[in-house]
Structures are given as structure tokens and as C-alpha cells.
Amino acid sequence: MLFPLKPLPVAPPRVVITGAGIVTALGLGWKLNAAGFRAGRRAFRPVTLFDVSRQRVKIAAEVDLPKVLPATQLNRRQLERLDRAGTMLVLAAQEAWQQAGWEAAENLPLVLGTTAGGMLFGEAYYRQALHQPQRQRRQAIRAIHYQPQVQARMVLDALGFSGPITILSNACASGSNAIGHAWELIRCGQAERVVAGGYDALGEMVFSGFDSLQALSPTTCRPFDARRDGLALGEGAAVVNLETLESAQRRGAEILGELTGYGTSIDGHHLTQPHPQGNTTLTVMKQACASAGIAPGEIDYLNAHGTGTLLNDSSEALAINEWAGRRAATLPVSSTKASIGHLLGGAGAVEAVVCLMTLREQWLPPEIEFETPDLACKFPIVNRPQDTRVNVALSNSFGFGGVNATLILRRWA
């Protein structure tokens, strides 16, 4: 039963990650992405997915999808009904599932974050309804498959498990919130294992939306650089398999890292602009540290939300300065949006997997194009490839509407 809740455990169980899957413009899977992030490779190119000839900005980080998907339990009809977003989601989920070595299960929760779900179906529906109104073909399929819960069901069917689906759409914090919510489900005893992640595909409407706001960089996306002039959009997905430490050890599973802290709250300042002083950012970083039982001095790397917009980065910088205190001067910070763009609902999940990579492989992801620090930044921005010891990483995500989320991950050694 979802309610009454199972009694809260006397002590919340430790939550570990035993599977991680990632799809970005850097490539499909952990290996390609780790190599790309480690080198600070930038994956932007002219947009080919839709017409941008009349847009102000014409580049984004597009994913090259395989022509044929690896074998799953999806049938031919289901495969035909996967759009880009659904395909990236299934690819990431499959990689995580295989890495975790999980088998078909009942009542295994799936928690996903997305802002657009199957919006590409929605766009196609709209165009046909408006321009070819008498043509009915595929409209019913589009009306069903634009809904994210239907894409989530594809994950269940592809991997052969069943369980409750929760879709969080807290804008660009969605992916972090999904993983954080999954962490809470395990910590409060509602589940022993959860699949969680986030995804979003590039679409014409969303691209146009950010372009209309003049939020897209017409030059180069450079988070926290004094010369920054906007964000770049990307697309992708990431999925993690979370389970109690006891469950992982019982199975003899390889543990990729531990999720130790989560904080989330809402900033009522403005629909699209963060509070200038980063009040809520500060709150969620403190919450996450409190739940992890650590101090800012114990964080070895901070993966910032760092969109590259003037307002976001200055607000986040002020919050980091205040939260980190004296540690700020030596705390390595970077935003991997400089490499793959802003993945919106997928951003938080992808960046959590990037943090896992840094913990597993002991390097920091640089922002290669970063040159001139914004005066607000009292912390060093990682701008060249760097191997170093990383035991604890923190990831920030903030969304339109003001929901902020922070995750803390610990190295498993």
C-alpha cells in the first residue's frame, strides 16, 4: 500500500548505486562519456533535427542515436513508437540495468524526471492537426506516446520489470529530484531497490523557447566565465539503479558509489530567474550536507548547475561562496554543461552520473573554454583535465519555477 506507509526504519539504510547508464552528445554509454568529460570535449554542432534557419542561435549538442537498438524485450511495434527521448531513456536504462545485474522483478519503482517527455510526438500531432486536419493517421498514437508515463512503461517492458512509475517534472531540477526521491523511498523503507533517472530530447518548441528568451549563447557556452553570454542546449538521458547497501552486498554486486545526501526546496522569487543571492541554493546545499552528515570542507568536487547565463551563475556562485566559506578558495567547481549543453529534465541525472565517474576514476571534468573568472566566483573553476583524489562530490540542479535540488555522492572504495 502507498498509505499507510511502512514504518520508518530505526536507522535509514545506506543507499548505493550499482548501475549507471548515460546517453549524451559525447556518446552512448559510460566509457565514451567518461573519456569525453575527462578531456573536457565539447559536443556542439549545427542543429540538424529541425529548422533553425530563423533562430538566433543555430547550435546544440545532438545525440547520434544508433540505427538499431540493442536487443530488449520491446516488440517491433513498441520499437516503432519510441521517439528520440524514449530511445535515449531506454538505452540509458538498459546500460544501468545490465551493469547492476538486476533480473526481472515485481513492484520495483521507477522514478523519472523530464520536462518534455514525448514532446516530439506532441509537436508532430500539432502540425498535422493544423496543417492536415482531415488526415487522421498516427494521431491517436501521438496523443498517447507524447505522455511521459507511456515512455516510462517502455522501460518496464524493455527490461522486464514492473512497479509503480513516478514522473517528476520540476523543470531542470527534475533529474536530480527523481534520484533524490528514489533515495528517499529507500531510506524511509518504502522500497529496497529503485530505478531512477532523467531524460529529455531536443525539440523545436523548447529550442525556440530558450532562443526567444535570449538565454542561448550566440558564441560559446562558458559557465562562470566573466564573458559568458548564455547557455547551450543538449539532449540525453541517465539512469541509475539504487539499492540498499545490504541488498548490494547480499548480491555480491559491484558498487559504483554511494548516494549520501539530498536536499530540495523551492525559491518563490521568479518563474525563470533565481533569487539573486541564491537563498534557496544555499538552503538545499545545506540540507544535502546535513542529510549526508558532512561539512562543505569534505566535498572534493562540485558539479554546478552552471548554465552559463548571467543570472544563474552569479546567483549560484554567491550561494557556493557562502555555503563553502573558507573552503571555497580551494573547492574545484565545474559545469559539464560546457561540454554537453543543458539537458533540462535529463541534466540532474546525467550530472549525477558524471559525479559517479569522477568518484570511480579520480579525475575532474574541465571547462576547456573557461578563461576569465566572474568576480562573484571565490572558487576555482576546473579548466584543464586533471587527475585528482575525489571522495565526495556534490551536484546542483535548479529549475524554472524555482525548485532547487542537490545530491551528494561518495566514492565506494
Binding site: R56, Y126, A143, P164, I167, G401, G402
Partner: protein
């Protein structure tokens, strides 16, 4: 384990801008009149049940954050304010930490269509004012700004059954003492594209718009005399469990109901779409109310209306308990039961009876 109570209800529907209007419509039991919605490229318009204009411009629309918002935000805000009105007036709740969970299926479709239309015509002139209002999280953000003391907010997307996931999430936040009260809101707006999609998927259904809200709390003194007794598991549709089986599993989990109970079901006018839910409740001999028959297919708002009607019926004292059945369109089946709180509620004002009861 804390008990969870209902501290207030709110509703905006084709019947009007409060719970009383919803109750009156359900009491009368007659389907509300429909309005026409022009369908591009077609001579014959589609039918919908729209929310009537409010009798007076709601005061909350003067809030700076709500000036350019879309109808779904207006409905969510109105339902939210009605649901928290008693709580906000109570001295004990003055500094309450509030959580909100806003549940949506189609979300901000009016501005989405408008913005995409502008994009297709000429992206260089697409309005930056409209785009932020297209995101699912926009109503949540605006309601949080309006209520001010919100510390935790999620936007849940799913089929209408997700409303009860929202209720369970609110209960969890209360249980973990992360909030002192939690508003769970289901809201939708409609336009030609929603009516068009329904025409493709469920032809007898009439699209509707509005919102419903439940305010949950732990303190029985703040309750309306209604307690959340159960929310079943989410019985997800999959290759191994079809909609009929999921509905049956939900029904089994709700258990044997007593004769004095009310069933608030999600049955509309669609033999095909309603078949799974009808089968699951085929043995139900008690009283029953089907808000969608009266108000239309309000998607997530309709799920919220079912819960509001159930709580209103129990709070009024007419029923000792009410079950809510949500057999969603493409995600899952979930049920819930609300019961009369087992403490003295004589201090509560008697609510009017709820209706459209079909023994």
C-alpha cells in the same frame, strides 16, 4: 505512525469556482451543458465543458506573479486557496511549513499551442513571455509564490491515477515531518487540441477543465473530520498486467466495503474506456457517484474532483467512508479510502450533503 487528516478542500470545475458548486452539480446529477470548441480545418466544432467565468475577478489575480498565467494556474490557485482557507485562518497554523504537490496530465496546453504556433510561423517573433508558462512546473511555482510559506514542491505528471500518488507523497512528507501541511492539487485546462486528442482516443468523452485540491495535515484539530485511511499500491499496466487486471488488483486491495460507504468512481460515458473499472466494481452494491458523467473528462482535475467529492461526502457526515477508484488511461490503477475521523467533530460546521448517489 501519524494519522493523516484532510484539513480542507477546494475545487474549480465546469460547475463553478468552489466545492459548493461542485457539490450542487453532483447533487443534481444532470450532465452539465457543453460548449463548442472550434476545431481547425473542420466545420463541425468539438464539445467541451469549460469553466465558467468567475462571478468576480479573483483577488489572487492581482498578485504580480499571476498576471500572465494561463487558466490552469488560475484553477490550481483558486482550488489551493479554498483548500487552505480554514488552515490559514487557524492561529495554530500561522507558521506552518507547507508542501505542495501539483499533479497534471496535459498541463499548460493553451500557451504551449500558442507558443508553438508562433514558432512555426516565425521563431524570431515567438513571445518570450509565453514560453515559461508552457512548462509543467509553472502552476506549481505560481501557487507556491502565492501561498508564500511553501518549503517543498513537486510537479507530478502522469495519467489521472497519479493524483493519488500525489496524496501518498503528501502523506509521506507529513509523516517524515518535512512539512506541517501539504496541498495536493490536480489541475488541467482544455482547448481544441485536448478535445481533438480525446476525439481520437475516447470519442464519447467530453473534455473538461478545472482543478481540485486536498489539504492534508497531521493535527486532528485542524481536520474537517475526514481521515485518509488507505491508498492502494500503484498497479501499473505492463506487458504482464493489463488495465482490467490492474483495476481488479486495486479493487482487491481496497477490500470489502461496508454498505454505508460511498464509491466515487471514474466512470464516464465510454463503454470501452470504462470497461475495466466497471468490471472491477461490478459487485458494488452501495452508493456511487461518478463525477465525470456530470462534469466531463477533466483528466487530472477529474481525479481530484473524485477525491474532493469523497472527502466532502464523509465530512458532511452522510457517509462513514468513501472509496475513490482511479483506473488511469495509460499508466496504472490506484484506489483510496477516506473515513470519518474517530474523534469528536461536533465543532465542525455541517456541510451540505453530497449527491448524485446511485444506490
Amino acid at each position: 505512525m501519524s494519522k493523516i487528516f484532510v484539513a480542507g478542500l477546494g475545487a474549480v470545475s465546469p460547475a463553478g469556482w468552489n466545492v459548493a458548486a461542485l457539490r450542487d452539480a453532483l447533487d443534481k446529477g444532470e450532465p452539465l451543458p457543453t460548449q463548442t470548441v472550434a476545431r481547425p480545418g473542420w466545420e463541425k466544432p468539438l464539445q467541451a465543458r469549460l469553466v465558467p467565468n468567475p462571478p468576480a475577478r479573483p483577488k489572487f489575480l492581482t498578485h504580480p506573479r499571476l498576471r500572465r498565467t494561463s487558466p490552469v494556474t488560475h484553477y490550481a490557485a483558486a482550488a489551493a486557496l479554498e483548500a487552505v482557507a480554514a488552515l490559514r485562518a487557524h492561529p495554530a497554523a500561522k507558521n506552518f511549513r507547507l508542501g505542495i504537490v501539483v499533479c497534471l496530465q496535459s498541463g499548460c496546453v493553451q500557451y504551449s499551442c500558442r507558443f508553438y504556433d508562433e514558432t512555426l510561423k516565425n521563431p524570431a517573433t515567438a513571445s518570450p513571455m509565453i514560453f515559461p508558462e508552457t512548462v509543467y512546473a509553472a502552476p506549481t511555482s505560481h501557487v507556491a509564490a502565492l501561498l508564500e510559506n511553501v518549503v517543498l514542491a513537486y510537479s507530478l505528471v502522469g495519467d489521472p491515477s497519479a493524483f493519488l500518488q500525489g496524496v501518498a507523497l503528501g502523506a509521506q512528507w507529513l509523516e517524515e515531518n518535512r512539512v506541517d501541511a501539504c496541498l495536493v492539487i490536480g489541475a488541467e485546462e482544455t482547448n481544441w487540441i485536448i478535445a481533438d486528442a480525446l476525439w481520437h482516443l475516447d470519442r464519447p468523452a467530453i473534455a473538461a477543465a478545472g482543478a481540485g485540491a486536498l489539504c492534508l495535515c497531521r493535527d486532528p484539530k485542524l481536520s474537517t473530520g475526514v481521515e485518509l485511511a488507505a491508498v492502494t499500491d500503484a498497479h501499473t499496466y505492463s506487458a504482464r498486467q493489463d488495465r482490467t487486471q490492474a483495476a481488479q488488483a486495486m479493487r482487491v486491495q481496497l477490500g470489502k466495503n461496508s454498505s454505508g460507504e460511498l464509491l466515487c468512481d471514474g466512470i464516464g460515458n465510454s463503454p470501452r474506456a470504462d470497461a475495466a473499472e466497471r468490471a472491477a466494481w461490478s459487485d458494488w452494491a452501495g452508493s456511487r457517484v461518478s463525477p465525470k458523467r456530470i462534469l466531463g473528462e477533466g483528466l487530472m482535475a477529474a481525479a481530484a474532483w473524485q477525491c474532493v467529492a469523497a472527502c466532502d461526502a464523509v465530512g458532511s457526515g452522510k457517509f462513514s467512508a468513501a472509496s475513490v477508484s482511479l483506473v488511469g488511461s495509460n499508466q496504472q490503477a490506484i484506489g483510496a479510502r477516506f473515513v470519518r475521523a474517530d474523534f469528536d467533530i461536533s465543532h465542525l460546521s455541517a456541510a451540505a450533503t453530497t449527491g448524485n448517489i446511485r444506490p
